[in-house]
């Protein structure tokens, strides 16, 4: 017994010795790796630094080949930073770990600590702009490049991440040019292509991924196709075969209910799904396309030479669910009410920005009466100068006019995506008389401020609807979180009018009823799908392996046509179940959202301290607050990020890495645009170029 312990000790000692002896050798061999092998992830090929030197952080001015005049080199000092993420968020954790491992390979003095934070702490640190790194996910409002660039480069995210003025003002010029070129695909493409070059050169952020989607449905569901701009599903083209249990009702399993059913203020997909089936807009998305439109409640539209005046001819013979007839006045009132009743967090900015060049009507008031701040509260608006309020209201009303022959003319002030805004549920057309009866603003300019900033539940349309769409609202049961849509048996799109797109549906919807169920517990939702009680089901990516065995038909997305084609064979893990559950999987549709990894250019401290940046200076045990303002640091991190590993770890490989900042198919999007590839040599090189001035 004793003997064996001694043997074990000796073995351990020998092993330990062997390891210590081999370590320098291994590093040396790594330094011999020729630069050609760029994909080598083993160790950096940087041989200029001796590990022994690095441990002495002391005098950066004595650094060898880099001429450091009055600054310190990140490479010499090293750094230590904490990547905080909210506990349970695997995506953020993976980003953190990839960066941590890469930079540690490049230089052992580069330390990223990965720390899981409880949600409240994460939220607090994030709101205080304390976190050095961030990730952003953006789901577009409408399919236009501006909607992608603006938040990241000059808008919300740019502000949250403290992108310096010199960059934002440069980007803003591009964005202005891009807007001015609306209508001219090539000119616009040229502007955005140049902007993408800037973004690459600035390494403004690290492009992450666009996730590929999976849609599971029962084999008896018919008519599904993918449109990236729909909020979940548009039920008009969908149906079930007679073989289905309960063939006239569609049961859909989800995880959330609407915020509100007032179309002017709802701004999320749960409500959007109901609204896009119940209400209609002047134009609507062509089949699978996010940026081609067909006239819906309009019969046609035209744009004037200057690109600022839009004229819509309103469809006749359309009735609302409650019986009213659609009139051009309904159109005018609905859009005006939206603009005057919305607020900063409603989708109305999409309409006010082309109409007046502002995000909210309060900005118009503020320009004339500075006592009313931009994005005012209702109380602040009510306290404004009555004459100014009257004048702003009149301006809004004058911007939309109804002509004698029943057309509606929109006089916009600024070039901005307008037709896409008219397709958003925020521009849904309501029945004016009915709405006023329910307590909505009656169009009187003396009272609009009392309705300004209408909130979700306060709205008279919180849970009642009266649209023109193929479905009407049955019930919204809060206790069971269940929404029921009933077929509109008097839908206006008859055989004579014809389908909206080739092969599109005509007449009344085939489904009599749609039940949107909220079932939070995944296991329960799965069992409901397997028993046939759910026709379509939301499946979180982590659970796909539990559903795949029941997939007996697989369709793959074709990015060229936007359609799905049947796959020749199932993928591994699919179709292994032999029970009578047969699911169909539509796989690979690239969604209208992408994820980016962001740097905080201006890391804030609270009460003089920030636990995430260590010492707060470049002394090897922290980073300065403006660490990421240095373009070389950003480039270095961009090279040190392994996007393939990221997509593999987070999406099980079901994603693609985008270039630029927008979506494929948009003006200026180019798959061949330069991207930072995973390259530790170049990462090291950029870190060596990152010089920080010494503070005093």
């Amino acid at each position: 017994m004793k003997k064996s312990i001694y043997t074990l000790l000796i073995i351990i000692l020998v092993l330990a010795f062997a390891l210590t002896a081999c370590k320098p050798a291994a590093e040396e061999s790594a330094t011999d790796v020729p630069a050609a092998e760029e994909t080598n992830t083993e160790a950096p090929a940087e041989e200029t630094e001796d590990p022994a030197d690095e441990e002495e952080v002391a005098e950066p001015t004595e650094a060898e080949e880099e001429v450091v005049e009055n600054g310190v080199s990140v490479w010499d000092t090293g750094f230590r930073v904490t990547f905080g993420y909210n506990e349970g968020n695997d995506m953020r954790r993976v980003v953190a770990e990839i960066l941590r491992d890469s930079v540690a390979q490049v230089n052992p003095n580069f330390v990223i600590e990965v720390q899981a934070l409880p949600w409240p702490n994460y939220l607090e640190a994030s709101r205080a702009h304390q976190l050095p790194f961030g990730t952003t996910g953006w789901l577009e409002d409408y399919h236009d490049p501006h909607n992608w660039y603006q938040p990241y480069l000059t808008g919300y995210y740019a502000a949250s991440y403290g992108i310096p003025e010199e960059l934002t003002s440069k980007y803003a010029e591009y964005l202005e040019d891009g807007l001015a070129a609306i209508g001219d695909f090539d000119a616009r493409s040229a502007v955005y292509a140049a902007l993408n070059q800037e973004l690459y050169s600035d390494a403004t952020f690290i492009p992450g991924y666009m996730a590929e989607g999976r849609h599971y449905e029962q084999e008896w569901v018919e008519g599904y196709y993918y449109n990236p701009l729909y909020s979940n599903f548009y039920y008009y083209p969908l149906s079930k075969t007679d073989a289905a249990p309960d063939p006239n009702t569609m049961y859909v399993g989800g995880i959330g209910q609407p915020d509100t059913l007032d179309p002017a203020i709802d701004y999320e997909t749960g409500g959007g799904e109901v609204l896009q089936n119940v209400y209609e807009t002047l134009v609507w998305f062509e089949h699978t396309s996010g940026n081609e439109f067909f006239p819906q409640l309009a019969t046609d539209w035209s744009v004037a030479e200057d690109g600022l005046t839009y004229t819509f001819t309103i469809r006749e013979g359309v009735t609302f669910h409650e019986g009213g007839e659609l009139t051009p006045e309904d159109v005018e009132w609905s859009i005006e009410r939206g603009m005057l009743n919305g607020y900063a967090w409603s989708p109305q900015w999409m309409i006010t920005s082309p109409m007046f060049g502002v995000d909210d009507v309060s900005e118009l008031v503020n320009a004339l009466d500075e006592n009313v701040p931009a994005f005012a509260t209702r109380e602040e608006m009510q306290a404004g100068d009555p004459d100014v309020l009257m004048q702003v209201c009149q301006t809004v009303k004058d911007s939309i006019e109804v002509t004698e022959d029943g057309q509606v003319v929109f006089h916009t002030a600024k070039k901005a995506p307008f037709i896409p805004a008219m397709a958003h549920t925020g521009a849904s057309i309501m029945d004016m008389e009915w709405a006023i009866e329910q307590g909505a603003w009656d169009g009187d300019c003396a009272t609009w401020q009392n309705y300004y900033s209408t909130t979700e539940e306060e709205s008279p349309f919180y849970e009642i609807t009266n649209g023109t769409g193929p479905f009407k609202l049955g019930t919204w049961d809060h206790a069971t979180s269940e929404v029921t849509l009933l077929r509109n048996d008097n839908y206006w799109r008859t055989e004579e009018i014809g389908p909206a797109w080739e092969g599109g549906p005509v007449g009344n919807a085939k489904l009599e009823r749609v039940v949107l169920k909220t079932v939070e517990e995944w296991g329960t939702r799965l069992q409901m799908m397997l028993s046939g009680d759910l026709d379509m089901n939301y499946v979180d990516r982590q659970y796909i392996s539990q559903v795949d065995p029941y997939v007996h038909e697989l369709l793959l997305f074709d990015i060229e046509t936007g359609d799905f084609t049947p796959a020749d064979e199932l993928l591994p893990g699919m179709g292994t179940d032999t029970s009578d559950v047969n699911l169909t999987l539509f796989k690979g549709a690239v969604g209208a959202n992408r994820v980016e990894i962001y740097f905080n250019y201006d890391i804030q401290s609270v009460d003089g301290s920030n636990p995430f940046i260590g010492s707060g200076t470049l002394d090897g045990s922290g980073i300065p607050a403006d660490f990421f303002s240095n373009v070389h640091v950003r480039r270095a991190f961009s090279y040190c990020f392994d996007p393939d590993l990221f997509i593999e770890e987070v999406l099980q490989g079901e994603g693609v890495r985008p270039t630029g900042a927008t979506l494929p198919g948009m003006e200026g999007y180019n798959w061949d645009d330069p991207l930072y590839t995973y390259d530790l040599d170049k990462c090291a090189e950029e870190f060596q170029k990152a010089i920080f001035e010494l503070a005093d």
Binding site: A344, E379, T455, E456, H478
Partner: protein, 354 residues
Amino acid sequence: MTTYIIRRLLIIPLLLIGVTLLIFGMLQFLSPVARSALYVRDLPKSEDALDAVIRTYGLDDPLPVQYWRWLVGFKNPVSGEVQGGVLRGELGYSHSAKQPVAKMIAERFPATVELTLWGFFPIVLIGTFFGIQAAIHYNSFYDQLIRIFCITGASMPVFVFGLVALMVFYTKLSWFPPGRMSPWVTQEIQAGTFAIHTSLMTVDALINGRFDVFIDVLKHMVLPILALSYISWATFVRVTRSSMLEELSQDYMITARSKGVAHKAAQWKHAFPNVLLPVITLAGGTFITLLSGVVITETVFNYPGIGSAAATAATSLDVIAVLGISLFNGALLIVANLIVDVLYAVVDPRIRFN
């Protein structure tokens, strides 16, 4: 007896104040943004709006002032409306349920009450029965069988049991579906062919004379009740069994037997009533637990009661809703405790006189 009840009633306000103080104390851990949901429906979205809300509702006033306002409500100087006020039944706005907390509780509570009423008796009666049987057949095979069965139930996580039960009885056999009722019942309610009177679906079904609805609703409750029973029986068995064993070994049992009382009669007439006391305590606790919503069971079976509402609120960090439900449950607990105590006194005269 009356003085006993009056004495107990007098303590209630004190207890309620204690509960409100506790909940109010917890609320102070929230930021003013989160606390503003006590009075306004929408969280302030800009810094200016936030300041305005804090000013208007005095969310930075001294705590006693805030406490009083939280209790009785706040008169909005602009609109003149009284907002909030726990005593007025205003518990704030739940962002996860998209409705006021009080309304959410009012809509969800009947489902929980119904589940409690139907589930309570199988849990208590069968659990007690098992316990008595185990004691009577002390150390026999039967005793061991009951104990193993019940301990398995107590040690199994309810969501595991729930999901397995769903797989077997719902997916495979199609006997007992999750939810509260079938879609066709919902459709009848929506169409107005089934009238809602009490919101207790089984009771309403009887009032409407609709046996099919009655059966449907019962079928939906079978699995949750089964799951709840299976995890609760162990406690009943343990308590009943040990106290029955204790009673069986008491001198009065020997006396009874020696007087010629039959074996069974001695067990049930003499020993059993004494066993009832701990059983009532336990049953009271179980009743209150059920009534305050069984979080995991309701979530697994998608049963729209207080418990699943609490779970949704908690997972979406809707603290106002969670604390609203806690306050409601706290008040419920106090009242239910009173009832149990009175029952206790009825059963055991000794308590009244102490």
